[in-house]
Amino acid sequence: MNDSPLSLQNVSLNFGAVTVFRSLSLQVLSGEFVAVVGPSGCGKTTLLNLLSRFIKPVSGTVQCAGRVRMVYQHDSLFPWQTVAENIALGLRHIGDHEERGRQLKGMLQLIKLEEFANHYPHQLSGGMRQRVELARALVGDTDILLLDEPFSSLDYLTRLRMRNELSRMLQQFPRTVVLVTHDIEEAAQLADRIVVLSDRPAQICCEVRVALERPREPTHPQVVNTVHRILAELGLEKRESSTLSLSAL
C-alpha cells in the first residue's frame, strides 16, 4: 500500500485575482485521519476539491492513489432513491450481484437502518440521512474518505452522536480520512492530526497531533487541551491557557 496516498506538493491555485493557495504542501499517510480547520473562506473545501482532483492546481502536483469518496456539506443523497438504493451507489463497481447484496446488508446493519432500507431520504431525520451518506461513501472497496463539514447542518447533540458513529464505522472500515470542519472540538475528538490553515492565501500555520485512541470523549483532557491549542493558534484564545506547546511548522 502507498505510504502517502494523498499529497499536495507546492500547490498554487487562484480563482481570477484571488490567490487561494501559494506553494502549499500536505501529505496524508495511509490510514491517517487528518482534520483541516481554519478561518471561513480560507479554502478548506477547495483543498478537498484538489485532493479529489475535481479541480486542478495552477502549479504543483496532486497525488491521489486509490478510490476516493466524498461526503458533502449539504444533502447529497438522491431523494428519488431509497436508503438501500443510495447506499448501493457505492457498490456499482462490484460486478457480483450477490456480493453487492451481502455488502449492502452488512452496511445497513452497521448503521442500524435495516428497517429503513426502503424509506426515502426525506422520511429520515438529519442524523439518519448523514449516516446513510457516510455508509454510501464507506461501502465497497474504497481507500480514501474526504469529508466536507459533514455534520455542520446537525444540532450539537446529533453531531456528538455522529462523531461516535463515524469512529465506530471507521473501526470496521479503516480509511485514510481528510475532514474539513469549522468545529474545532470535532477535529480534536476525531483526528490523528489537525492541520490549521491561515487566511488566504492559505498556508499551514500549524499541525497538532493527538496521540489518543478513538473513540474519544469530547471532554477528555487531551481533547480539551487540543481545542485550546488550536484556538490559541487561530488567535481566538490567549496562548497562556494552552498548557502544551505547539508543534508548529
Binding site: S52, M70, D75, L89, G90, H93, P121
Partner: protein, 257 residues
C-alpha cells in the same frame, strides 16, 4: 375532540358542497328568480343530458374533444420536455431563445385561430395545433426551470460514483425534475382542456366546444349547461388521472419535504 381521518373528510366535504350547490340551483329555478329561457332548471338539463346521450351526440363530441386534447398535449409533452432539457443544460442557447419562448407563451393560443383555420382548414388539425401551441411553451419553460433547480451536488455525486453521460440524464436529471414537471403537466393539461373548447367553437365541426356553440345557436340553454357540466367533469377527471403520477414513490419527495 378527536379529528376525523382526513381521507373521510376529503370524500365527504366536496359531496356536501356539491349537494348544496345543486340545492341552490334547484331553489333558484323553482322560485323562478330568473326566466327558464336564460336559467335552465336542473331537470331540464337532466332531460337534455338523456336526450344527447340517447342520440349518441354527447359521446361523439366527447370522443372528438378528448382525441384532440390527447393528441395535441402528447405531442407538446414529447417535444416540450426534450426541448426544455436541452435548453436547461445549454446556457447560451437558453439565453438566446428564452425571450422568444416567453413571447409565444404570452400569446393567447386563441390568437392563432385564424392562422390555424387558414393552414389546416376545419376539423381535428387546427384544434390539435392550437392545443399544441397552448401546451408546448409552458412545458418547455417549466422543464428549463426544473433543470436549473437541480442542485449541482447531485451531478458531483454522479461523477464521484462513475455515472456515464447517458446515466446523468436517466438517473439524475429526469428523476430530479420529475416532481416539478408533473406539476406543470397538471397545469398545462387544464390549459389544453380550456383551449379545446374555445377552439372547437370556431374551428370545429364536432366536439364539446362545438356542441356548446350549436346549443347557443339553437337557444337550447339546457344543452349548453349540459355541455358545460361535461366539460367541467372531464377537466376534473384529467387532473385526477395526472394527479396519480404524484403518487409514484420515487417522486413523493418533491411534494412532501
Amino acid at each position: 375532540m378527536k379529528e376525523e381521518p382526513v381521507s373521510t373528510k376529503a370524500h365527504v366535504l366536496p359531496l356536501v358542497v356539491l349537494f348544496a350547490a345543486l340545492l341552490v340551483w334547484l331553489s333558484l329555478s323553482l322560485l323562478k328568480v330568473f326566466p327558464e329561457s336564460v336559467f335552465p332548471s336542473p331537470s331540464a338539463v337532466a332531460r337534455g343530458f338523456i336526450e344527447e346521450t340517447r342520440k349518441g351526440r354527447l359521446l361523439d363530441d366527447l370522443v372528438a374533444s378528448l382525441f384532440r386534447v390527447t393528441t395535441g398535449f402528447t405531442i407538446a409533452v414529447f417535444t416540450g420536455i426534450p426541448a426544455g432539457l436541452w435548453l436547461g443544460h445549454h446556457a447560451r442557447f437558453r439565453t438566446a431563445l428564452l425571450p422568444l419562448i416567453n413571447f409565444f407563451r404570452s400569446l393567447s393560443p386563441l390568437a392563432w385561430i385564424p392562422f390555424a383555420i387558414l393552414w389546416f382548414g376545419i376539423g381535428d388539425l387546427p384544434t390539435i395545433f392550437l392545443i399544441f401551441m397552448a401546451s408546448f411553451f409552458p412545458i418547455v419553460l417549466a422543464t428549463i426551470a426544473a433543470v436549473a433547480n437541480i442542485p449541482s451536488v447531485y451531478f458531483r455525486v454522479a461523477h464521484d460514483y462513475g455515472f456515464q453521460q447517458r446515466e446523468l440524464l436517466t438517473k439524475v436529471t429526469l428523476p430530479a425534475i420529475a416532481p416539478q414537471v408533473i406539476t406543470s403537466l397538471r397545469v398545462t393539461a387544464g390549459l389544453a382542456w380550456l383551449v379545446v373548447v374555445a377552439a372547437e367553437m370556431i374551428a370545429g365541426r364536432a366536439g364539446l366546444g362545438f356542441a356548446i356553440w350549436d346549443a347557443r345557436n339553437g337557444l337550447r340553454m339546457d344543452l349548453l349547461v349540459c355541455g358545460m357540466i361535461v366539460i367541467g367533469v372531464i377537466g376534473m377527471i384529467i387532473d385526477i388521472v395526472l394527479y396519480q403520477l404524484t403518487k409514484i414513490a420515487s417522486v413523493r419527495w418533491g411534494y412532501e419535504r
